[in-house]
Symmetry: D3
């Protein structure tokens, strides 16, 4: 069942990202390309950048963005403890208003964990 | 199936707006009436005002408000290209945090487009 | 059917709060404990504090936080009229962007009202 | 010197509110009138409503709105302890991002306190 | 004296934008270039786009962004009435929390008006 | 002159933090203590945590919080390039609305840089 949360998120995201690019709006295309460039290795590692993306997404309380960066961080080898420390920091900076988003973020993280251990 | 997204949104919205007005709270009633007055033709056209409402809703990331203004703009004859340029501007001003909301906004817009071409 | 909205909210909330505490992150634990301390009787009554929590949640547009404080306020004996005046004030301060959240908040409040009158 | 913070705030606020009304935009006028109606005695007392306004202003981090509601609450006889409990709750709900605004809010509150004791 | 608000804003903005570009960070450079592309004539006119930028800036309550778009809109020939209708709409969508920003926005707009009529 | 920005920020911050603690509100005290605990070495380094704090502060657009974390990161040996990459990421996630805050953040960072090279 946990696989569903992940697959549902990814398939909708991919489908609609394609449709956004299909509108052929050049500004939206540039934003998408700047977005992927921004998370590439630089003075900061990819792992740190994904955690920064997660932090920004949590305090701005965007569940889909949170899911995306939890997944990316996890795929890049960031540990569960490091992701949870980022959750904690976001709850400090952003307040208890972040708690409901932390619930959904943890559910997603533990689904990723489960689905990796299944294989 | 695309009709469902539209109908579901509109029927819940109408049902609950009625219940809000049924509470007979005079401040809520005034807000509802100021809200409809604000989008009427003035120094700016109804079309421009709906796009301004859409812009505000996108950067504040309120999906229901976005749907409402996409629908109103569409009904007022704003073109798909104009709505998408508003999406693009909202992603510039509000950042990539607006992308997930743009996905749902585009899905709603394309549902409207489909359902108009069906008739 | 209204019971479902309430039970669904509470059971997911409880399940995931337990999982958050189970991560054993000491910052998250402290935030949870500060959070419950903050709403205890002091210079302000518990009722007023729950309404303040509701106000903060409405203007920050966090549906789950809104549900939580509507429920707590209701359990503490705050009246429907007082809760609705708080909704109204949140719509004044936070703008029409709060309306969709007010719809869901009112639906939740009226579900609580129904389910109390059933017993 | 503390009198300056208060007078500066009030004189600029009054001067510019007059200029806003002088634009003769009917929507802005309505918002101003709904705004003053919303804080009048109802199911909730004026004191509670001012604290709700303060809470909303703090979590949305609007320094001028915070000053305004601190002043109104103070004038309505809300105690320093009650205002500070509202500050505390806003820091819980809104996070440490509210701290810098709490600094300025406390400075304003203590200026009001000083200037009342001077007379 | 009104000229000072305008000049102060523009000179600090230009000086620091240059320093941002001087850091030679390619992501920041791209954002700056996407930003200027986004406001160019397209399916929507430059005037409408500036008003959209103003709307986004007002509801997100960024005073500097508001000043920037008020100035650009004014330079592009948008009338005072149209700018003020955008202020009004932003106060409807974003709530009374936008009022203090509207004060500063109007002061800036009327300074622009004065300084144009001086020449 | 650059020293002034830094000293002004720090002296006001320290003075008012003391006054906040002097109110003897136990919730505010706990928040202050959770806040300092949260940035201590754990699964993530102090440097990474300061950058996360900076990221959260930038996207939530809190200038004082930004200054605080720029200073802490700098003191912990985070490089200028790493801080600027965090600025860039915050502008991607949070949008062009973050630009004015980036101007002030860079000015503060370069003041720190200057004042360290002076000694």
């Amino acid at each position: 069942m946990s696989k569903n949360i992940i697959e549902e998120f990814n398939s909708y995201r991919e489908k609609m990202n394609e449709r956004i690019l299909a509108t052929d709006n050049k500004i939206l295309k540039r934003i998408f390309s700047v977005d992927s460039m921004a998370y590439q290795e630089g003075a900061l590692s990819v792992q740190t950048k994904e955690l920064l993306g997660l932090m920004g997404s949590l305090v701005l309380r965007c569940d889909d963005c949170v899911k995306y960066h939890v997944q990316k961080a996890w795929q890049e080898g960031v540990t569960k403890e490091q992701i949870i420390e980022t959750f904690a920091l976001a709850n400090v900076v952003g307040g208890t208003i972040v708690i409901p988003h932390t619930r959904r973020a943890l559910e997603f993280l533990e689904s990723l964990e489960e689905s990796s251990s299944c294989t």
